[in-house]
């Protein structure tokens, strides 16, 4: 009797386990659909972002209808969870055929062998903004439909009232001028004159602040060798910049708290905001004709802003790379690139799409971002070490913001980056 009921329980749980096993398993890579098409799985980071998903769905529908060899199947992830999900999938050897990646991590993925050379026709890659292409060791691994750009947002009336010169792309603020403007604005009653988004975390930090470091003459790594951060991230220029950065918080020019986004500027609580084009529309609504998009200040070597946004690559486990290429080729049509740009408020990657864009075309309200991107955009270092550089830079930057000693913090960051590069045998450089 006792063994009978025990056996019953065991067999019941075995059946249950089998039933569970049978559901929920998805075909990956090169499985075929019922009508004999090769299925291409595709992951995006766009869950929860209907404006972007809408364009992808359009492209996929059009592509699937345009031929009968391939069928693209899309799976979207929320951005905050995307990197965690994709790294786990890579470790488990379970990547989809097509996946999008933030530009700066592309070399890391290429080095690790998770993505393969893109192999798109040269006329497509040549037509794209240089910052919309991801390379490693002179080989193209990814391409994107857009780039983003940062600018300093201001109200014309506020600058004029306070006798602050309005800078132009040809004649940006020098750092002394900029400091003076912040002092003036603080005296004029702005408790925090400038919002630089320091309350944000993650990739925003290197994206927004490492260009300032480069403008001051420092860098994240020695780009000639890609083997050490010594001298670049802890040299006198870097120390000078980070000292400025720390003092900006001490003096109250900028704040480490507040809300992510551009609300403070739109409500007039801050006079200047260093932010991305994706925040520009609500500000246009709030300030109208009074709104200015200004170049960031020149810390010494000319203004710099970050380049490279999300881009597409093909995994090396993809069983049908021709299919994946066919899809990507299809997707780089100007009409789709324009749709992304206008839905997402990002700079179109092709000239044709830019001309057709409502916001970024010659008469568009956000045209200045195109010019800023062309003039000043600089890629983050194209090395597999970027993953650790990014995380280390953010940590060091935040520590300095919170009062840590500048030189020793930067020395620690350099030691950490260099140790990592060494333990990875130079990452192929």
């Amino acid at each position: 009797m006792n063994r009978g009921s025990l056996a019953k329980i065991l067999s019941m749980s075995a059946v249950g386990a089998l039933a569970l096993t049978a559901c929920g398993q998805a075909g990956q890579g090169g499985t075929t659909s019922e009508d004999g098409r090769v299925q291409l799985t595709m992951w995006t980071h766009s869950a929860g972002n209907p404006a972007e998903l809408e364009v992808y769905e359009q492209i996929i529908d059009d592509f699937n209808a345009s031929q009968d060899e391939y069928e693209v199947i899309e799976e979207s992830f929320p951005q905050g969870a995307y990197n965690d999900a994709i790294v786990a999938a890579a470790a488990a050897d379970d990547l989809p055929c097509l996946l999008d990646m933030d530009g700066p991590i592309v070399p890391n993925w290429a080095w690790a062998g998770y993505i393969q050379p893109l192999g798109l026709p040269q006329e497509i890659t040549d037509s794209l903004l240089p910052t919309a292409i991801g390379t490693y060791q002179d080989e193209i691994y990814s391409a994107g439909y857009w780039d983003a750009a940062l600018a300093v947002l201001a109200r014309k009336s506020v600058l004029e009232e306070n006798d602050i010169r309005i800078p132009t792309i040809d004649d940006p603020w020098t750092i002394d001028e900029f400091d003076g403007a912040l002092d003036t604005l603080q005296d004029a009653g702005y408790k925090t004159p400038l919002d630089i988004g320091a309350e944000d975390s993650g990739e925003w930090w290197p994206y927004a602040y490492s260009p300032m470091l480069q403008s001051a003459g420092g860098d994240l790594i020695d780009r000639d060798t890609m083997l050490s951060a010594e001298g670049a991230l802890n040299g006198p220029e870097a120390v000078e910049f980070f000292t400025w950065f720390q003092e900006a918080f001490e003096k109250g020019w900028v704040s480490s708290s507040g809300t992510i986004g551009n609300e403070e500027f739109d409500k007039g609580e801050v006079a200047l905001s260093y932010t991305g084009g994706w925040n520009a529309l609500p500000s246009l609504e709030a300030a109208g004709d009074d709104l200015l998009f200004l170049p960031p200040p020149d810390f010494g070597k000319g203004p710099t802003i970050g380049g490279a946004s999300w881009q597409w690559g093909i995994s090396s486990t993809c069983e049908s790379p021709e299919g994946a290429r066919a899809y990507l080729e299809f997707s780089f049509q100007d009409k789709y690139v324009t749709a992304f740009a206008d839905n997402q408020i990002v700079i179109p990657a092709t000239e044709g799409a830019t001309e057709a864009s409502e916001y970024f075309g010659p008469e568009g309200d956000l045209r200045p971002f195109v010019e800023l991107s062309q003039e000043y955009a600089l890629l983050r270092p194209e090395t597999p070490a970027y993953a650790v550089i990014s995380s280390t830079f953010e940590k060091a930057g935040k520590d300095i913001m919170n009062g840590a000693d500048v030189q020793s913090t930067l020395d620690g960051a350099v030691a950490e980056i260099d140790a990592n590069i060494q333990s990875n045998d130079g990452y192929g450089f």
Partner: protein, 311 residues
């Protein structure tokens, strides 16, 4: 009145009673005041969450420094809830979480109570070593083994239906069972069952043995019916982590149709966070837990009390 003559007995009785009555009354008032003040402390973040879910983003941020944060005032609407349903397949996520939670808790009750029974009431070789090892595993936080776990479950065998045929495959990623099976056995549950079962008199088993009952029958017919409080306690305590799973499904589940509720939270953290929708979504996913808890609270509170946990 405070000083009572001890000599006149009848008088002392009544006035002592009165003193005690007044004291008791005063103490009662004070404890109500204290308990109410604490209730405010424990509830206000949740009130903030529910109230904010009715407000537009700008107003949430504007109200945050004033008592208005707790009051449904200003521009009140259900817009955030509509926004949530537009952005996230809430229904699907809820179904997934209910499925994962119910199976994890249900199978866990069976498996862990059987182990607790074997460890507390039966004699077998290696029992005390096993018990010590089970207790030792309590110190392993899941986050520290998450990465090896991903590697490991990606190697485990599984059966798949392909074109109507059962096939053999490797890799547990992207399924319901990868969210359930690793969390069925739980050292803490086994420990609680072991504790509780050992308080039930052994003579019951012996009597049943003499009547010819097998061990499984003793477990099923005698011990389980007597251990309701332990089952209720373990059920609630395993329900919470199963419902709140976050890091693990993030790593091992790629299909949207299989995601649980906590992962859905990330949908609102875009370039600019939609705070109103975050509040609405957190309210939505907290509500089922509160309802389950409130409907079982009487049983639960008394069951923890009854299970008389021992160290």
């Amino acid at each position: 009145m405070a000083t009572v003559s001890l000599t006149s007995r009848p008088a002392s009785r009544t006035s002592a009673d009165r003193v005690e009555h007044v004291l008791r009354h005063r103490r009662k008032v004070w404890s109500y005041v204290a308990m109410s003040a604490l209730a405010v402390v424990f509830l206000f973040p949740l009130v903030f969450m529910f109230v904010s879910s009715l407000k537009p983003d700008a107003q949430i941020l504007g109200d945050v420094g004033s008592p208005r944060a707790f009051l449904p005032v200003g521009d009140i609407s259900l817009d955030n809830y509509f926004g949530v349903f537009d952005r996230v397949p809430v229904g699907q996520f809820l179904v997934n979480s209910v499925l994962v939670t119910v199976l994890t808790v249900g199978l866990g009750l069976v498996v862990n109570s059987m182990a607790g029974f074997a460890l507390s009431r039966m004699r077998w070789k290696g029992r005390s070593v096993v018990l010590a090892l089970v207790i030792a595993t309590l110190i392993v936080p899941f986050e520290t083994i998450a990465v090896p776990m991903v590697y490991w479950v990606a190697q485990l065998p599984t059966l798949v239906m392909e074109g109507g045929v059962l096939k053999y495959d490797f890799g547990w990623l992207n399924s319901y069972h990868v969210q359930i099976v690793p969390f069925i056995a739980n050292a803490f549950s086994i420990f609680l069952f072991t504790q509780y079962f050992s308080t039930i008199p052994k003579s019951l088993d012996e009597a049943a043995r003499i009547d010819g009952a097998g061990w499984f029958t003793i477990y099923r017919r005698i011990i389980v019916p007597l251990a309701g409080p332990a089952f209720a306690t373990v059920a609630i305590l395993t329900f919470l982590p199963a419902w709140n799973q976050y890091l693990w499904p993030l790593m091992v589940v790629q299909q949207e149709e299989l995601r649980p509720v906590m992962v859905g939270m990330q949908y609102f953290f875009q370039l600019n966070t939609a705070w109103g929708e975050v509040m609405a979504y957190t309210s939505l996913i907290t509500l089922p837990v509160l309802i389950v808890f409130l409907s079982f609270q009487r049983a639960f509170v008394s069951s923890v009390a009854a299970s008389g946990v021992k160290g």
